[in-house]
């Protein structure tokens, strides 16, 4: 589904992504981990063609990310925001239309997601009137409204209470059951352990380790937290 082939990206001489290659098959939930400033967000932005790699190639379903149609890709960026003065329904429908969902369908899909994430009574309110957690749910809806076959979620659980985290996790599981591919970037190791089939850990723009989640856990005493500390610590030494 997603193939990243030796991509590099530097900002004012500092390497943010250093020769990263990944191959994520269809239907996999892939954990993309790393400490702050490791180059995760830069990599995800390159996948979404928001910024371009200095070298290397990214292909989605065999087509370069620069030319492929993004209408079946969902993206929840780490730095989030939505139009505060607009109504929730209008914002969701707007982004749905930008993902090429026909006008006749977008309303129906929006209603489905409002109901699924339990915010149907907020749909006609202005975004600014919503709590931070509910605003985050709206942003999640924007990422999934196009029923994406590839979904990139950057810290989707941050700021959500356990009940809402569970709702989101159920959605992710449903997508997985439908053979959709998901890249999950998070600092919450438990979520990776629970959801991700495979994962990679990057640090200072380079891949430190990559493989099946359970294999990496086994290697490091059954815990990803431990793996994270040991591998990042080793790498810094």
């Amino acid at each position: 589904m997603l193939k990243i082939d030796h991509i590099n990206k530097a900002f004012t001489g500092v390497k943010a992504v250093d020769d990263i290659s990944l191959d994520i098959p269809v239907g996999e939930v892939f954990g993309f981990l790393g400490p702050n400033g490791a180059g995760k967000t830069t990599t995800l932005r390159m996948i979404m063609d928001i910024i371009q790699p200095d070298s290397g190639l990214i292909t989605i379903d065999g087509e370069p990310s620069t030319t492929c149609d993004h209408k079946r890709i969902g993206y929840l960026p780490e730095e989030r925001g939505i139009y505060q003065k607009a109504k929730v329904r209008d914002v969701v429908e707007y982004f749905g239309k930008l993902k090429s969902i026909p006008q006749s369908e977008v309303k129906e899909r929006a209603n489905y997601w409002f109901s699924r994430l339990k915010i149907e009574e907020l749909a006609d309110k202005k975004v600014a009137e919503l709590s931070k957690g509910n605003q985050q749910k709206v942003q999640f809806i924007i990422a999934v409204i196009n029923d994406p076959i590839l979904m990139i979620l950057d810290e989707p659980f941050t700021g959500l209470d356990p009940v809402n985290q569970k709702i989101l996790q159920d959605v992710i599981k449903d997508f997985k059951a439908q053979e959709h591919t998901i890249i999950l970037s998070t600092h919450q190791m438990a979520k990776v352990e629970e959801n991700c089939d495979s994962m990679c850990l990057i640090h200072k723009g380079k891949i430190i380790t990559m493989g099946k989640t359970k294999d990496i856990m086994e290697k490091h005493g059954g815990s990803l937290d431990k793996a994270f500390i040991e591998l990042i610590g080793d790498s810094d030494e």
Binding site: I51, K71, I73, P77, R80, Y94
Partner: protein, 418 residues
């Protein structure tokens, strides 16, 4: 293209709902009203009945003057407004008496007819706070007329002779354009209509500038831009924004045209001027309309492109707000341009894209610019709008995720070239 239109539609809806747009539509008329109404009010009130004192310094014309005043300045029932009383002064009590008359409200107005009035026609008018500009002006006119009539009679002529001498010639002005036909020249149409369009465009742009900038800034500062850029290419986004904001300009000018149409029906009678819808809605109005829209697109392209360089609105306004001065420039220079239309200044300003739309409106109205020039300058402006949109999308793409760092001019040029 569909996505561009979705963006345009969104921007248009957001714009229409914003207070800034409503203000920008009506502010030009509010400013016009604020500048006109007080002067209309100052000259439209009825003059109230008052006590008046006249000090005739030895001319023996008190009776005549007071009769003349009460014949000329009257109420609706043709009654004289003033209750007039004659006073006599000496050189010792002259100033004190006038002061007392006014201060103690014995008289609101005191007219002093100087000695040898028939020779030097000198009078002085003293008044209190109840007397307005219009009343003073009427008093002056009435006394001037009295003086003229007296002099005419002294020369052995009649009042009819005076009317004959003072009759103003009835001048009709014809303009022969490139077609060779003589057309009756209407100064209101020639100078007034393009002037009004110029004013509306300037005000529309100045008032909307904050709205144009704030749209981009909000998306940057709220980090919405990242979601947008994951769904749409930067050039599509830029084009959509400019089209959406440009459509606001179309709606704005349409509202103006409706207001102008209504004014052209009733305004002529109201202001007692030669004006009809046929005078205003000449073929030129189509060009004014198109240049207005292109002017709006031009500034939308500039502000959207440059807005992406800033993190917050205040910083953006401080740095690029001065660009709306370009819009004000032709208004400031309108007098020299009208007085001397062939000045090189007109040519130079026509080629500065930020002033082209304004100058073309003036040139079409005042200089009767030829059709080839009107069309050529339209293409010139369209090329600039397209160029700025293209360069802007390059800047946009590079700067959208740059926070807390101000781009230098060198960097901006590099991004455009890349």
């Amino acid at each position: 293209m569909n996505k561009t239109l979705t963006i345009a539609q969104w921007e248009l809806r957001r714009g229409l709902k914003s207070k800034a747009f409503i203000v920008s539509v009506f502010m030009p008329f509010i400013i016009l009203l604020i500048s006109i109404v007080p002067s209309i009010l100052a000259f439209s009130g009825d003059i109230e009945a008052k006590d008046m004192g006249i000090i005739d310094q030895g001319n023996g014309i008190y009776e005549e003057v007071s009769q003349h005043l009460n014949k000329q300045i009257t109420t609706d029932d043709s009654e004289g407004i003033y209750t007039i009383q004659e006073y006599e002064t000496t050189s010792e009590n002259h100033d004190t008496l006038i002061q007392t008359l006014i201060k103690d409200n014995i008289a609101s107005i005191v007219i002093v007819i100087q000695p040898d009035f028939m020779q030097n026609a000198e009078i002085q008018i003293y008044h209190n706070n109840d007397v307005g500009l219009e009343e003073i002006s009427e008093l002056k006119g009435t006394i001037r007329q009295y003086s003229m009539e007296k002099r005419i009679v002294a020369l052995g002529l009649t009042k009819e002779d005076m009317d004959y001498v003072l009759e103003r010639p009835d001048v009709t002005i014809y303009e022969i354009g490139q077609s060779g036909n003589a057309v009756r020249s209407n100064l209101i149409v020639r100078y007034g209509v393009p002037g009004v369009f110029l004013w509306l465009l300037v005000m529309g742009i100045v008032m909307s500038s904050s709205m144009l900038i704030s749209g981009v800034i909000e998306e940057r500062s709220n980090r919405i831009i990242e979601i947008l850029m994951s769904s749409i290419k930067s050039n599509e986004l830029m084009a959509g924004k400019i089209i959406g904001i440009g459509m606001l300009g179309v709606i704005q000018i349409t509202i103006y045209l409706v207001i102008i149409f209504i004014f052209s029906i009733y305004g002529g009678t109201m202001l007692n001027i030669d004006l009809s819808p046929a005078d205003v809605f000449t073929p030129n109005i189509l060009w004014y309309f198109l240049y207005f829209i292109m002017g709006y697109f031009m500034y939308a392209a500039v502000y959207v492109s440059l807005g992406s360089l800033f993190d917050n609105e205040r910083e953006a306004q401080q740095s690029v707000g001065f660009l709306s001065l370009f819009a004000i420039l032709p208004i400031m220079l309108i007098q020299p341009i009208i007085m001397n239309p062939d000045t090189p200044l007109t040519g130079i300003l026509s080629f500065i894209p930020l002033t082209t739309p304004f100058m073309m409106i003036l040139k079409i109205g005042i200089l009767s610019a030829p059709l080839w020039e009107i069309l050529l300058m339209m293409l010139y402006l369209l090329a600039w709008i397209a160029g700025i949109t293209w360069a802007g999308s390059k800047i946009f793409r590079t700067t959208l995720l740059m926070y807390g760092k101000r781009a230098t001019l060198k960097e901006i040029i590099q991004w455009i070239r890349s």
